[in-house]
């Protein structure tokens, strides 16, 4: 009771990176609150997964191993997690802000009539003063998230209902194991007890999942284009530059909305958050929500025809001019100078 529970996503036999990231943060939250860290993992043929979870400091693993739990469908997972929460009464419940986490968490929050905060980028323990009722709440989960299209940061609290639920963005929390793994224990869930026939209403006909097709998040060099690139064809220059530098191509929301580049390459608070060694921003003026998703890059080069572009203020190098001349020149110069 009163512990921190992390819903761990498993794809095949592999636990998702985001789950390890959240477990790492969850461990320090649990430490601060002096409570235990628990994990729920649901799937099929999960022999041995608990060992990996213990390595991240999990005290108790709730394991559900059943053919109805893999591949993931909403209702069976939601019913089991809801049931476990009702029994264990955690103080905090965390999910990845992924297609799975964002699908299941709201369903659970509605069932339990408790608060849920989406897409958190920071979680800390702190106090909250309810000014209207002059009441102070101690040791709440302060949930920070980008809001209003990623243009501001809001801190959300859930003072009166438990558990405090949040989904957490991928890539924003550091994955780290404690120096010594926990000697945890595993509770095998009796899945048939949690499921009813109506939970099996939705059937998977076909799945096409590609493994890590795109890995912008972990690329050390990113060439990103904005609306200023002008067209889908003009993005070819960016792909060429990224190719010779060994990097990936990303885009701003404006470029994605204009159809210049695919949505899964969108960088910013409303896309992927990145922190590469080198970020080359091409024709990106730099809306707040975009900059907030890349400003931790070690080095930023901004190429823009507008010398006043907000992106230039956070850039290490600013090149003012025409992309269609500058980018091919960068490719040429790189090839000439690299030995």
């Amino acid at each position: 009771m009163n512990n921190v529970i992390v819903y761990c996503e498993v794809h095949g036999k592999e636990i998702a990176d985001v789950s390890f990231e959240i477990l790492s943060r969850g461990r320090s939250l649990a430490g601060e609150l002096n409570v235990k860290l628990e994990a729920i993992i649901l799937g099929h043929k999960l022999d041995g997964v608990e060992k990996e979870l213990y390595e991240y400091g999990v005290d108790i693993v709730h394991k559900g191993d059943h053919k109805y739990l893999a591949p993931y469908t909403t209702l069976p997972h939601a019913s089991v997690v809801t049931g476990v929460f009702q029994k264990e009464k955690p103080r905090i419940g965390l999910f990845g802000a992924t297609s799975v986490g964002r699908d299941i968490a709201p369903r659970i929050s509605s069932k339990l009539k408790c608060g849920l905060t989406a897409d958190c980028t920071e979680l800390v323990i702190g106090d909250y003063l309810d000014k209207k009722n002059k009441k102070t709440y101690n040791d709440l989960l302060l949930q920070r998230r980008p809001a209003f299209g990623g243009n501001i940061i809001a801190t959300i609290v859930t003072p009166d209902t438990l558990p405090q639920l949040a989904t957490v963005r991928e890539g924003v929390m550091k994955k780290e194991k404690p120096p010594t793994p926990k000697k945890g224990k595993t509770v095998n869930l009796d899945i048939d007890k949690y499921l009813s026939k109506s939970d099996l209403a939705v059937k998977i006909i076909e799945r096409h999942i590609e493994k890590n097709k795109l890995n912008i998040k972990n690329s050390s060099i990113i060439v990103a284009g904005g609306y200023g690139v002008g067209s889908r064809e003009n993005f070819d220059m960016l792909y060429e530059l990224a190719h010779v530098l060994g990097g990936e191509v990303g885009g701003s929301r404006a470029a994605v909305d204009a159809g210049f580049i695919e949505r899964d390459r969108q960088i910013g608070q409303t896309g992927v958050t990145v922190r590469p060694k080198l970020y080359i921003a091409c024709g990106i003026s730099g809306q707040i929500q975009h900059r907030a998703g890349m400003d931790k890059s070690a080095m930023i080069i901004s190429i823009n025809s507008d010398p006043e572009a907000p992106m230039n203020k956070i850039a290490d190098y600013v090149i003012t001019g025409d992309l269609s001349k500058i980018i091919p020149q960068m490719v040429k110069s790189y090839k000439e100078n690299i030995k």
């Binding site: 501001i152 799945r207 909305d257």
Partner: protein, 291 residues
Amino acid sequence: MKGLRIIVLAKQVPDTRNVGKDAMKANGTVNRAALPAIFNPEDLKALEQALIIMDRIPGSTITIITMGPVRAANIIREALYRGADSGILITDKRFAGSDTLATSYALALAVRKTGKYDLVMCGRQAIDGDTAQVGPQVAEKLDIPQITYVEEIGEIKEKKITVRRRLENGVETLEAPYPLLLTVHGSAPECRSRNAKLLMKYKHACTHTELLHEVEDYISLHDIHPYLDITEWNVDDLKADVEWLGLSGSPTKVQRVESIVFTVKESTTVNGDEEGINQLMKELIEHHNIG
């Protein structure tokens, strides 16, 4: 087969996609008044998916439901111009301050009040909150299954429907029985534009409250053409428990809102000519930033 009864849930939102300088106040908060109010983009895509179903299964009907202030009736008219059959505006001061849980409570009551339905459709998320929570929460409150991130409708049968959904690194095709809630992903096609005939037909469609401000001619027009009435429901019409609405029905509270602060760097200006770029690339290679 007989037509499907479809409900589309939509939200009017401030256009957060192009927040310029004047939309941010000096204290870092957002000046909502400086942003145009629009039909939430993914909700519009949900409407298109509903219209596609209506094209394929004659006799289907689409009712659009939105919760918001009186001016949110604008998006209901937009839906009527594109092919929706009727609209319902849920409006009441007592809804103010609702988080996603309280909102889903009100919307679920409204869906129930419309009677029998086969599909509830809405966008994955709204661009002012980006939470993607209201759809699944409405589904849970209606006690029906959900399929999120839909990008294409497949086979439509008497008792069940097949849809394709978009995931981070792939797609999934699912089959589910009615009644069912679908949330539509941004990768689905854009909504068709307004139909000129429907625009003429529904130009004067409005809610009861809006009609109070209209001239006599329009009021009599509504007497002749009842289809011009946009239904308006308040808390009492929905028989909602006010404890579950507004601030009291919202477990999440905003403790603080702050602007995003960037570290301004001392930037080096590079000449965009051959020599300048050459020099820059040499430097980057030397310092092992690239290569």
